[in-house]
Assembly symmetry: C2
Homo-oligomer: 145 residues x 2
Amino acid sequence: MTREHVSNLPEVPEEIIQHFDQWQAEGVDASNCPVRDVLDRIGDKWSVLILMMLAREPKRFSALNKAVGDISKRMLTQTLRALQRDGLVERTVYPTTPPRVDYRLTDLGHSALRPLAGLIVWADKRHDDIRAARDAFDRQETVAA
Amino acid sequence: MTREHVSNLPEVPEEIIQHFDQWQAEGVDASNCPVRDVLDRIGDKWSVLILMMLAREPKRFSALNKAVGDISKRMLTQTLRALQRDGLVERTVYPTTPPRVDYRLTDLGHSALRPLAGLIVWADKRHDDIRAARDAFDRQETVAA
DNA sequence: AGTTATGGTCTCGTTTCGTTACCAAGGATC
DNA sequence: GATCCTTGGTAACGAAACGAGACCATAACT
């Protein structure tokens, strides 16, 4: 039943699903799971956005701040530091006044872009479906209440 | 300069990067950006994990709770509700006692699995690099202090 | 002297998160 | 027939993370 359901959809490599199964059997917690470890960083509110913004070329702190728009300086600093710590982003300070600081993707950071692009394309393509689902869900709730 | 840097890396489709550029020019905030809208949900602490766990077959609430391990019932409920609202997961209640509730991926949920798998493979492959970068960063900090 | 610009940090109030206790319903146990 | 067990949650509360805004150092420019 589940198999039929799955089989007519774009396939997820069986190998990956086996990974999932395996983790599941072991009980996935943060300590033993690389995906958890990485996703907890990458998967926060701002990281992906910032990696995207740096895709083509390095950017200054203020440029990032403006590009993202509704991020606060506090969170921008924090996110950039985390990305730097994880080796995805490189920080360069030019000791001028006023100071100038560039952020650029490292090779590792660049390598993240491809999988992220996959996700982004999906998000773009399915956005309408998701919004429709949301509306339907919220209507139901309203009716039930 | 940046171009050379980029060109010898696994390529990200130029089309995608243009997307990034465009968003950037417009100033990406939550309201006008589908990616933001979607990523804010998908990209929370638990959603991806749960989608992974449901990859092969539907699971009961308690099974998910056990599989993830360090998620609380509160957050599990909350995350599942959000996924259901976004149409990625379907909730089925069997009115027995004690109650039995199944969660399964919808077609939409399944379609998310492929891009997520890409990310997961990346995380798995690059985990060591990231940890190494972290260690190096933390050592530097310690020395500087 | 006063203004402007950059790349932050500090503080404080609000949200969100995680932990624990609790609940309802019926079947099994004694 | 009173008690206990199980499932799938919810309620309440303290802890941690987040967001808005004020503030700062430096020097060039007016």
